[in-house]
Symmetry: C2
Amino acid sequence: MLSNHLQNGIETARLVWSRLPGSEEGETAEIELPSQSRGGAGAESLDYEVIENYAYREEQAQRGKLWVSYYVVLKWLFSLLIGIGTGLAAVFINLAVENFSGWKYAATFSIIQHSYFVGFLVYVLFNLGLVFSSVYIVTKFAPAAAGSGIPEIKGYLNGVDTPGILLFRTLIGKIFGSIGSVGGGLALGKEGPLVHTGACIASLLGQGGSKRYHLSSKWVRVFESDRDRRDLVTCGCAAGVAAAFRAPVGGVLFALEEVTSWWRSQLMWRVFFTSAVVAVVVRSAMNWCKSGKCGHFGSGGFIIWDISGGQEDYSFQELLPMAIIGVIGGLLGALFNQLTLFITSWRRKYLHKKGNRIKILEVCIISLVTSVISFGLPLLRRCSACPDSEMSPGIECPRPPGTDGNFVNFYCAKDREYNDLATIFFNTQDDAIRNLFSAKTFHEYSAQSLVIFLVMFYSLAVVTFGTAVPAGQFVPGIMIGSTYGRLVGILVVKFYRKLNVEEGTYALLGAASFLGGSMRMTVSLCVIMVEITNNLKLLPLIMLVLLISKAVGDFFNKGLYEEQAQLRGIPLLESRPKFYMRNMTAKEASKNQKVVSFPRVVKVGNIASVLRSNKHNGYPVVDQGQNGETLVIGLILRSHLLVLLQSKMDFQNSPFPCDMRGINRHNFSDFVKPVSSKGMSIEEIHLTADELELYLDLAPFLNPSPYIVPEDMSLAKVYNLFRQLGLRHIFVVPRPSRVIGLITRKDLLLEESDHSATTELQSTSVRSQHPLLDSLLIQE
Amino acid sequence: MLSNHLQNGIETARLVWSRLPGSEEGETAEIELPSQSRGGAGAESLDYEVIENYAYREEQAQRGKLWVSYYVVLKWLFSLLIGIGTGLAAVFINLAVENFSGWKYAATFSIIQHSYFVGFLVYVLFNLGLVFSSVYIVTKFAPAAAGSGIPEIKGYLNGVDTPGILLFRTLIGKIFGSIGSVGGGLALGKEGPLVHTGACIASLLGQGGSKRYHLSSKWVRVFESDRDRRDLVTCGCAAGVAAAFRAPVGGVLFALEEVTSWWRSQLMWRVFFTSAVVAVVVRSAMNWCKSGKCGHFGSGGFIIWDISGGQEDYSFQELLPMAIIGVIGGLLGALFNQLTLFITSWRRKYLHKKGNRIKILEVCIISLVTSVISFGLPLLRRCSACPDSEMSPGIECPRPPGTDGNFVNFYCAKDREYNDLATIFFNTQDDAIRNLFSAKTFHEYSAQSLVIFLVMFYSLAVVTFGTAVPAGQFVPGIMIGSTYGRLVGILVVKFYRKLNVEEGTYALLGAASFLGGSMRMTVSLCVIMVEITNNLKLLPLIMLVLLISKAVGDFFNKGLYEEQAQLRGIPLLESRPKFYMRNMTAKEASKNQKVVSFPRVVKVGNIASVLRSNKHNGYPVVDQGQNGETLVIGLILRSHLLVLLQSKMDFQNSPFPCDMRGINRHNFSDFVKPVSSKGMSIEEIHLTADELELYLDLAPFLNPSPYIVPEDMSLAKVYNLFRQLGLRHIFVVPRPSRVIGLITRKDLLLEESDHSATTELQSTSVRSQHPLLDSLLIQE
């Protein structure tokens, strides 16, 4: 039915297209980017290609078995390296944070033996210095490193590439920024940034190092397809979570549930491998540090709250207070999302438009306020007497100055006293959480102290969120949650008077409920909580509070990351089509667009003017069939047209189809767009008047079979197609006039025994039908 | 472009189709079924509908908000009920098995104090009686309950419904059959059957009880769509694993990795909830039994091997023996798959064709052989002296007769001796595994005993696999693996002479390696092993051996379940397209089919003759457009045609399109096919000669927009479309002549603020365009 020439053209196009790296589809999603994360460089156009890419495999097959083995080995090697890299980064961050904090508290404690005022000054300045270094690095050097980075990574894996998020300098900014901001005692955590760090490491490995800093190595640059890169970034995310919480299974589930919008079961094992490598690296490093070689690190750092000494059992009466914790978590979490959304959007609209100075000033002020509150409030608090050492053996109260632990003696008159507010406030957050979770410490905290802390810390966390420093929300969330959890626990202990009820258990449930109410994660959060507390027996309770807090939170607004992604203009495709889509057809959805198509052979001048006149990123290409009717022969991408226009190699004088030699002129890596870059623009390409009069045959460069849907298919169906296959363009076409064939399960399932024969047959027939193709294959 | 009449027809079709329950697509995959699992009833045609089903939701929307709430509440209620049901079933099976085994061993031990021969007879007869009851139930009453059921469930969730697997009597057969076969001491486990049990419970709940046994209740039958049912079955699978291993997270991952071929993140939370409910139920039951109300149950039953007292650390030298365990696991696992495949196919071809008597006889002989070996071999084995009680405190050696534990005194001359072979062989499998995993029991087993046990048990497991009793492969796999693992452990202890090396750890790794080498599961298996041993620290080691054993196994053959599914003729679509598909086009793939299409209004006689003359399950429907050109207006399913032919309500005299009143004549549940039934056949429908001359307008009943692909799309792309969206039919159509529109990410992402307005607008415009549709909506 198709003319022979056209048929050949399309065949060659398939061949060539399949070798264009990572470009099965490729829409440029233009998003208005936060000036903060781009350093005010103006809107950039993004390019992000699809999952559905056999191009690379096709190329592999052509390069032979050896290449495939190399590719597979490299894939696993990279997973290993991502694991090692992320693990080491996590160890480094923790080491630095713990040491800075250790020095800070040791110095402060030793000075306040003499003068509280000097101690206060030292404390404030130490914090300010660390925070300033963090905000300075981020604003001057790596603007994309601000915030947690999870919404951006989520966007990347969903199909939207925010410029700058996966660069080498973002990685550096993230690592050192985290150290400063966490070490400086701000109300934020290092977990979100670690996820981003893992993703950066993965992406940099995938592109063979940073090109800008000449750290790139050609021989490892085999991951040219976007699918491969995306797989690596997924591994990196899981590695980040695994490193942050020492929760390998939680990491896998986080990557699965929270960040990726698609999933292949083959990937799962690789992601799991990466997570396990992280676990091994972190464990080895911690063992190494146990001998005291790492300064203050030996005593803490990683989030692992062993409450295995705590409550193992629960009675049915306890379910009510636990449900109440769930409700509180949902309410406070939703409120947190709403407040941060409000403040962030205000910041973006007014404050951060005024430049980097304001950003730095803002963070410094917040640091000052935080220091004043965390030092000052405990001063105002009366000390409590230490618990009777005979009643509760094994408790050291007060703890010796300069060490970590419970029962801080801070501004107490007597020796055998401790300051409960200072125990949680004037401490690193990890230690504070460990203290809140601790079992066998009844009545350590007074309800009053917990309420004060809850209110102050909640406010600080809301204000700190969205500033220009790397900031995770896990640890603040756990702090807030465990505070009100412990409050409820105190009431339960008072009310039920049962011996096996532990306040620490309620603190844990509170933490789960707040995270559930704010981030709305479910399975992964549950597993992370179980893994960090190393107690499987609390799983049903954690699930219960998560179920409730998520349901309550969902009643008010969306999850924290979704809200933030939306605010940043990162368009995430949700897993479900919206309800109204069921009543719309594909045609109606695409009605407001004018389709601009190219003929197969087109004047260079026309291409240039079309590219200038609109912002579409994909154009249908049409040609005449044998009987003179028009036929859609494929899709050409703007980015590929730009490459062709710039190289000028394929321009021809004749307005007739060329003889297909064009495809060998190109190095196919020309068509690869580097990660996190802006790509080319038509304005950058200069064409002479003569060149504008030449022609270009598009057939070798187009995608010969983009997905099509009939015009009256419901938009919900189209949505599913789009999302499940990770597409960028779908052609809406008229109803077909006839059905050539029907493909059913049977056609896709040839018997194992027929395989080799069929394969042989098919590939032979394909080749013999197309002598041109054959010659091309031989030519190579 | 379309004529108005046709347009209306299609619109109405969309409306009606969307209300046909669970029938977005629906191919009948005909598979040649094992006579064993069907009780020799001849090949049945299966019907299985797709995931991609908005029909139900559409219907919900029409029924209003209250209905939606009811639906959501019911969904969660069902998840709860599935969890409770599966948990109780698991408790019941365990209770029965443990009590039967307890009585058996107690009786045998008390008798052998006097006479070993009488004890032997009692032991053999007890086993034979239990096994006979199991095989009798299965062969006479529930043939589909034989085997593990996991391949069939996998097939069901992949899109192929094996008749009988989800019936009420299969459930009953599975539960009681498991009790008999496991209690009777065969070399098989109860875990696979528990997964099947969970799936049955879920499916029965989903269809509102068993219709055949009049246990069906109308008001819970809201899950008419196949997607809802499939979701429930997924929950059931996870619940089964959670119950079998007390591993809720493992259950979720098992369902995710192993059984489902597609996944929605919304489902995950529900699956997890179900698993957690199971965990709570099982835990409560066990607590209740601790007080001794459950006979022998209190002492064991559930698989939970607490090796927390064991090795916590490992040195790098140990990685080599661990890797060796991985290799052994891969080799033995692949061999196991190959042997069982061979024996099963021989059985199906020759043995099981001869009827149920042979099946019963076969199982009874195997039971006799198993009893003789497990009793006889320990008799031939010399006893060893008990370890010095001062060196290893806390060990009771020999254990008192009739209790569970290590160090069985069996046919020993002296009091302070134990029989190491009897400790693992003459014992329930759960106890044997606990003994093999046990820490602090160096040199309990001689290498010789372990080798004897390994060889004998491996052979028994291979022979037992595929007989007509419910049979899981997890526990035998763990037995085999932990035996050679412990063997390697003995060598390591001897060789490295380090104090902190535990033989039990190696046994655990051996178990993981054999399961990995045979079933090729990865993440879920890893998590299950971690959860049953309650020791997160061994995770990286378990991963290492799994990685190796899976890779080694994959070198030889496919996983156990895939091999078995293939043998049973269950066509599973793998997650990746085959390589040769890249070189094939959609047209080539559908070439051997002749497409039979219907006009919109068709003579009843023609329908009947077409349905008789071929076995297709979907037919394109074509009609004339405004300009007289033909247009494909949709897809009609064989099953729907059969319903229409049988009801005869829509037959009309005129050969012209009807006025669409037809759609209200039908109760839409007419079109639902019950789970695991064979559905209608054209031979069962009797039409008079007059009726054959009447006409039928197909427009209201067709799927107006099936997915289409252009003829020259590569088959690999088509495969992905097919599998990702869970389709049954794809139309292969000619290249389109023009592109009406292009759908990109932007078209699918309307701003939040625009939503309500757009929704209103769109739905209004749809309605106003189609007055007929409006009247229909009002009419209802």
